[in-house]
Symmetry: C5
Subunit: 354 residues, 5 copies
Amino acid sequence: MPRMFRRMSAPAGLPPGTVVPVSERNGEKVRITVIDYDETRFEEKEVQSVEETLPFKDKPTVTWINIDGLHQPEVIEAVGKHFDIHHLVLEDIVSTGQRPKMEDFGNYIFIVFKMLYHDPRRDQVIAEQVSLILGANFVISFQETCGDVFDTLRDRIRKAKGRIRKMEADYLAYSLMDAVVDNYFAILEQFGERIESLEDELVIRPTPRILQTIHRIKREMIFLRRSVWPLRETISGLQRAESKLITQPTQIYLRDVYDHTIQVMDTVETYRDMVSGMLDTYLSSLSNRMNEVMKVLTIIATIFIPITFVAGIYGMNFKYMPELGWHGGYFGALGVMAGISIVMVIYFKRKRWM
Amino acid sequence: MPRMFRRMSAPAGLPPGTVVPVSERNGEKVRITVIDYDETRFEEKEVQSVEETLPFKDKPTVTWINIDGLHQPEVIEAVGKHFDIHHLVLEDIVSTGQRPKMEDFGNYIFIVFKMLYHDPRRDQVIAEQVSLILGANFVISFQETCGDVFDTLRDRIRKAKGRIRKMEADYLAYSLMDAVVDNYFAILEQFGERIESLEDELVIRPTPRILQTIHRIKREMIFLRRSVWPLRETISGLQRAESKLITQPTQIYLRDVYDHTIQVMDTVETYRDMVSGMLDTYLSSLSNRMNEVMKVLTIIATIFIPITFVAGIYGMNFKYMPELGWHGGYFGALGVMAGISIVMVIYFKRKRWM
Amino acid sequence: MPRMFRRMSAPAGLPPGTVVPVSERNGEKVRITVIDYDETRFEEKEVQSVEETLPFKDKPTVTWINIDGLHQPEVIEAVGKHFDIHHLVLEDIVSTGQRPKMEDFGNYIFIVFKMLYHDPRRDQVIAEQVSLILGANFVISFQETCGDVFDTLRDRIRKAKGRIRKMEADYLAYSLMDAVVDNYFAILEQFGERIESLEDELVIRPTPRILQTIHRIKREMIFLRRSVWPLRETISGLQRAESKLITQPTQIYLRDVYDHTIQVMDTVETYRDMVSGMLDTYLSSLSNRMNEVMKVLTIIATIFIPITFVAGIYGMNFKYMPELGWHGGYFGALGVMAGISIVMVIYFKRKRWM
Amino acid sequence: MPRMFRRMSAPAGLPPGTVVPVSERNGEKVRITVIDYDETRFEEKEVQSVEETLPFKDKPTVTWINIDGLHQPEVIEAVGKHFDIHHLVLEDIVSTGQRPKMEDFGNYIFIVFKMLYHDPRRDQVIAEQVSLILGANFVISFQETCGDVFDTLRDRIRKAKGRIRKMEADYLAYSLMDAVVDNYFAILEQFGERIESLEDELVIRPTPRILQTIHRIKREMIFLRRSVWPLRETISGLQRAESKLITQPTQIYLRDVYDHTIQVMDTVETYRDMVSGMLDTYLSSLSNRMNEVMKVLTIIATIFIPITFVAGIYGMNFKYMPELGWHGGYFGALGVMAGISIVMVIYFKRKRWM
Amino acid sequence: MPRMFRRMSAPAGLPPGTVVPVSERNGEKVRITVIDYDETRFEEKEVQSVEETLPFKDKPTVTWINIDGLHQPEVIEAVGKHFDIHHLVLEDIVSTGQRPKMEDFGNYIFIVFKMLYHDPRRDQVIAEQVSLILGANFVISFQETCGDVFDTLRDRIRKAKGRIRKMEADYLAYSLMDAVVDNYFAILEQFGERIESLEDELVIRPTPRILQTIHRIKREMIFLRRSVWPLRETISGLQRAESKLITQPTQIYLRDVYDHTIQVMDTVETYRDMVSGMLDTYLSSLSNRMNEVMKVLTIIATIFIPITFVAGIYGMNFKYMPELGWHGGYFGALGVMAGISIVMVIYFKRKRWM
C-alpha cells in the first residue's frame, strides 16, 4: 500500500507553489528526451538540461519533451521558468497524489492523469502520475519513472506510421492519453483473468485465503475507479475547452478516447459487481458448509444418543432387572437399538438431511 | 464468459483508427446484401464486393446495405473509402466491445448498439454488436454474424407492409433499432420465466445449485443492463440531433422506441430487485434449516443426556448403593427417566420447538 | 404475477403502429358511453359504435367518451380515424404494459397511466392501464375493464356538484387523473394495515410464512413504485406543456394532483423502508432463536457431560478401585456430581446465559 | 403509529377543494387569536369568529391571526371567503398529511410544514401540520392543536424584543418557521441522548428489546427525514419566489433558516448512520455470543467425550480384560484421562479458544 | 462525543441574531492579535480590545485580525458594530455547530469552515469552527481556541516568504483556508495509519475490541465527511462569487485549494470503503471461526459417540452375551472401535474437514 496512501500534497505550512518532490530517488538523474518532428523531418535526442530544449521551442515543428523523474526540483523549476508555467502547476507536477484534471491557462493547457501498470514483484497495480503541458507547438510530459507505455508511440513517430506526423501538438497530447487509456484495458484484462480463476477456485474450495484475495481485488478496484473516474471529466473538459490549442480534427479523437474511458469505467463497475457477488457466494458457501457440518453431527448424535441410552439402561446394576436374565435379552436389546436407528434414518431421509 | 470479457479495443500501441477485427472467423466469407426500394420499386440482391453496391448509392431510392461478418478488414475499409467514413468509425465497427452510442458526422450518422440473443447451446444470453451508418438515402448495417432478427423487417419491405416503403432512409434506421429493441422483450420474457420457475423451486427446496443459478442470472442482468442503459442516451441523442438526416415524421417513431427502451430498463430493474429478494430468501431459508437442524439435535440431546446420566449412576459399581438392592429399584429408575423426558417435552412444547 | 410480466409490446417484427390488443376477452363487447355537458345542459348515453359519438365532437360542449375494453381493434381504429389520432398512440392504448407518460400532439394530448385496484380473489394489487385523449372540447378515456373508480365523478357531473360543469375539457381530464390518484391512497391504506398487522405478528411469532408475506409485499411495493414514479413526470410534463388545451385555471389543479403523487411516492418509500426493517427484524430474531436453542443445548450438555463422566468412572470394572469399597462412596460421588452441577449453574448465571 | 399513517387526503370521489377535516375533535371549539402590531402599537385579543378579525385586515399594521384547531370546516371556509383564499389551499390546510411546500398565489403565499414535538405519554415524536398564509400585511397560521412553540415568539412581539416589531409581515412568517426549525434541534437533541444511552447499553448487554428500540428509532428517523427534507425545498422556494410579499431584508433571514434546515438534515443523516452502525454492532455481538456459547460447549464436550469413552471401555464386562486385573489399572486409567484432558486444554489454548 | 452533538444553534425562542456563545470557557480572556502588512512594511501586535484594531482598518495595507475564543459576546458584538457586520453573521460565528458555508454580503464575505485536529488526550478528532470575514483590505478570523495551524502562515508573512506580502487580503483569506485544508491531509494520514495497523491486527486476531475500534473510525469518517463535504461548495461558491473582493490572481489559488478539497474527499471515501471492507472481513472471520469450532466439535463427537456406544453395549449386564466369554472379545471390541474411528477419519479427510 505504500504508493496508495502516500502524502498527497506538499507539507502543510509551506507557501503554496513550493516545488517539493514527493519521491525520493536521489541517486538517479532525471532523463530528458526531445523528439521534434513535422511531416517531413524527424529529430530525436537525449539532452542534459532543460535549457538544451529551448531551441526547439520556437520552431514551427511539433516538439515533444519527455521528462522521466520528478526528484530534481531544479529541472521542474527550469521548465517553469523557460516555458512560463504557473508555479502551482509545477507544484502539482511534483506532488504525485493529484487527481486527474485539466486546467486551461490560456497559452498552455495542463493535464494530469494516472498511468497504471502491474508491478510483478509486488503483484500489485501501481499508479504513476503523468503530467502533460500542451503548448502552441510543443508537449512536455512528466513521468515518475521511465515507463515503456509510450515506446510504441515513439516508434510510430519515428516511422511516420498513422497520421501523427501530419498533425499538430494537440494530436500528440491526445496520443499520449490514448496510449495510457489503451493500457488500462490491458490492466483490466489481467483483473478479468484473476477474477475468473478466483471464481472457479471459489466453487471448488472456499478458503479464508480466497476471501483475502477477494478483498484485495475489491480494494484495487476502488483504487482503479478513483484513478479513472475523474479522467472522464478531464477529457470532457478538454473537449469543451474553447482553446485555440485544441484543433478541430483532434476533437473527434478526444471523443474516441472519451468513449474508451467510459468503457474502462463500465468494465470496472462490472468487475466490482462481480467481486461483490463473489463475497456473497463465499459467505453463503460458508453457511452451507456449516449447515452440512451441523447435519453430520446431528445425524450421528441423534442416532447414537438414544441407543447409547438403551445400552446404559442394561448396564445398570439393579438386582432385580428381569430382562437381564432373559435368554434372548441381549439380542432383543440389540434389536431395539437397530430399530431406533432405522426409524431415525428414515426420519432424516424424509427431512432430506441424508 | 468468452464474449463478455474479450478485448474491447485494438491492441495498445497501434495507431488509432487501425482496423483490427476482433473476431477471428477466417474461413467464412463476409456476406453483403443490398435492398433498394422506394414506394413503387424494390430490388434485392447479394453482392460479392462493396464496389458492386456503389451504383445504388447515388440513386434517389433508399438503399440498405447489410454486411454480415466483420472479419475481413478489406471489406470494412472499402466501405470507408467509397462512402467517405471516418477511420475511427471503421475501428469502432470492427472492435465489437463498443458501448451503444451515436455520433453525428454531418453527412452521415454512426449508430452502434447491441443485439441480444439467447444461445441455446451455452444457455446464455449473447450480445452481438450492430453498427448502422445512416447516410442521405442509404443505411449500411454491420452485424457480427448473420442473425435473423431483421428477417421480418426484410419481409415487410419486400411486401410493402406498413409504411416503410413510403418513408426515408432514417425510418429504415429506426426500423432496424426497433427490431432489436423488440427482441429485448423476448429475451426479458425468457428471463421472467426462468426467475419465476426458480422462485417456485426455491420455496420447495433450496440447494446450492439454485444459489449458483441466481448468481448467474444476477450477472446476466448486470450485463444486460450495461447493454441497454447507454442505448437510452443513444436514442435520445438521435432525437436531439439537429441533423437534416432525421426527418420530422421519424422523430415521433424515435420517441416510441425511446419509450420501449425505458420499459426494457424498468423490467431489468424489477428483475434485479426480484433476484436480490431471492438471494435474501435463500439465505434466510438456509438459516431456517440450520435452526431446524439445531432444534432436533437439541431436543434429542437434552432429553437423552439427563436420562443417560441416571442410567450411568446405577451402572456404578459402589458396594453400598441402597437403591440397587430395592425390589422396585429398576422400575423406579425407569420411572424417573420417563418423568424427566416428559418434563423436557413439555418444556419444548412451551418454547414451541416441537 | 400474470399481469405484472405479460407482454409489454406488440409481437416483434410487426410494423410499428399495428393495433394488436394484448387482452383476449373475446366474448364481451366493448362498452362505449358518452357524457356531454356544459354549465346548463347534460346528456348521457351508451352508444354502439364510435361513429355515433361524432355528432358530439363538434359541439362547443365538453364531451367525455369512455371506452371500456381494448379487445376490439376495430373500435380503437375507428377512434383513430374519426378523431385523427396517430397510429402509434393507438398502439400504445392497446398494449397495456405502457409506462405512464404524456405526449403532446398539438391538437390533442395523449396521457397514459395506471389505475390500481385490489383484486380480492387473488389478494393482489392489479394495475389497469387508463389512456386519455384530451382534445379541444372532448376527452376520450380507455379502460381495460369497466372499473368503478370514475363512478363518483360521473355522479358529480350529473348532479353538477363542485365546479366541473363550469370548466373546460382539461378539467375533466384532470378530474379523471385525480380520481385515480385518490384511489392510490386507498390502496396504500390497505398496505399500511397489512404491514402493521404483520409487524405485530412478527413480534409474537416469526415464521417462514411471514418471511414469504414480507417478500410478497416488498415486491408489490416495487411494482407500485414503478407504476407511480413515472406518473410524477407525466403530470409535471402536463404542467410544463405549453399547450392551448390546458387552460390557466386547470394549472393549479394539476399542481394539486402533482402534490398528491409526491405524497403517494413518499408513502411508498416509507413502506419500503418499513418492510426492509421487518426483514432485518426477522433475520435477527432468527439469530436470537438460534442463540437461545444453542444456549439450552450448551447448558444441558455442559452440566451433564462432566457428571456422566464421573458416573462412568465408577462404572469401570477394575479390581482395585478403593472408592468402590468405601462406605460413603456412593453418596460421596453423588455429592461430587451435585457440586459440579452447582459450579456450572453459577458459571452460566454469571455469563447471563440462564 | 396512528398519526403517521392516517388518511392523507379527502375521501376519493369528492370534488377537489372540498373541506373535509381529517381530525375529529368535535367537542372543543376552534380558538382564534389576533395579534396586531407595528413599531409603536400592540394589540392582542381572542375572538369568537373569523369575521371579528376583518377590521384588522385593512390596517397598515401587521396582523397575525392564529387558528388552533382544524375540526370546524366553517371556520376555515370563512377564512377562505373573507381573505379570498383558493379552495384547494383550504383543502390542504385541513388535510393534515401534507408534505411541506410553498405555493405563490400572487396576492398571498401559502406555506405548509410540520411542527414536531415529543409526546411524553406515548414516548413518540408527533408531527403536527402548521399552515401559513402570508398576505400583504397579515399572516394567518393554522395549527392542529394549540402548541406552545410560538409562545416565546408572542412574548417577543409583546415586549418588542429583537427587531420583529420593526419588520413587515414576511418577517413574522419567517419567525414562525424559525421557531419551528429551532424546535427541531430540541427534538434532535433528545434523539441524540437516546442514541447515546442506547449505545452504552448495547455495549454492556445486547438484548432483543434493544433491537426493537433501535428499529423504532430508525423508523422515527425515517419519519423525521420525510418531514424535514421537503422543508428545504419549501424555504429555498420562498427565497427564489419573486414575490413582492417577501421584502429584501427578510431574504437574509430566510437564508439563515435555510442553513438551519440543512443542519437539521445533516444531523438526521448522521443519526441514521449511527443507528445503522448500532444494528451492525448488535448483529455482530449476537454472532460473538453464539461463538462464545459454541466454544464453551465444544471445550466441555471435546474434553469429556474422549475420557468418558475411556471410562466406557473399562466398564465393559468382557471376561478377559488384562488391564482390569492390574494393580495400578484404575489409577493408570485415571492418568490416561488426565493426559487426554491436558492435551486438549493445550490444543484449545493454542487455538486461543480459552 | 461531547463536541459532535452539542447544541447547534441559539436556544429556541430567542430572537434570531442574538449572540449566545456556545462554549463556556469563562475564566480565559479572548486573545486578539493584529498583523498588518504590505510588500514593504510589517507590524504585529496583541491588542486588548476590538477598538484598538480600528486604526488599521482604513489603511491601504492588508490587516489580519485574529480572535481566539468566542466566549465573550461583547468582543464579537464590538466587531459587528465597528466593521458593520450583519447580526446573523455574528450569531453564526459564536454558534459553533455551523456547516461550512460562504455568504457574500457585498462589502464583505463571510466564510465559515471546520479546522480538524487530533486530540491526543481523548484520542479523537476534534473539529473547531473557524470563521473568516474578508473585507476590502482586511481579514478577521475567529477561532474557538488558539490553534497552531496558522503559525507557519504567520511566519511566512513575517519573513515575507512566498508571494503573500505582495498580494491582497483575499490571498490572505485563501492562505488561511489552504492551511486548514493542508492540515486535513495530516489528519487523514493518521487515519490511514490507524486503518492499516487495524487491518494487520484483524488478520492476526479478530476481537470484539477491534470491532468497536472499526465502528469508532467509521463514525469519525462520517463526521469528517460531513465537515469536508460542504467545504467543496463553499470554495466553489467563492470561485463563482462575482465579488470585487476576490481578485483575478487569487482565483487560480482558489481552484488549487478546491482540488485539494476534492482530494481530501476522495481519500475519505476510500477510507470509508476500506473500513466497510474491514467490517465484512471481521464478520466473515467470525463465521470462519465458528465453522472451525463446529468442525472440531463434530469430529470429536462423531468419532467418539459411536465407539462409546460400542463400549456401552459390552457394559450391559445381560446374562447371555456370547461375546463377553470369547477369549479375544475385548481386543476384538477394541479393534471394532479402532475400525470405526479410522473410517470416520477417512470420511472427514475426504470432506476436507481435517
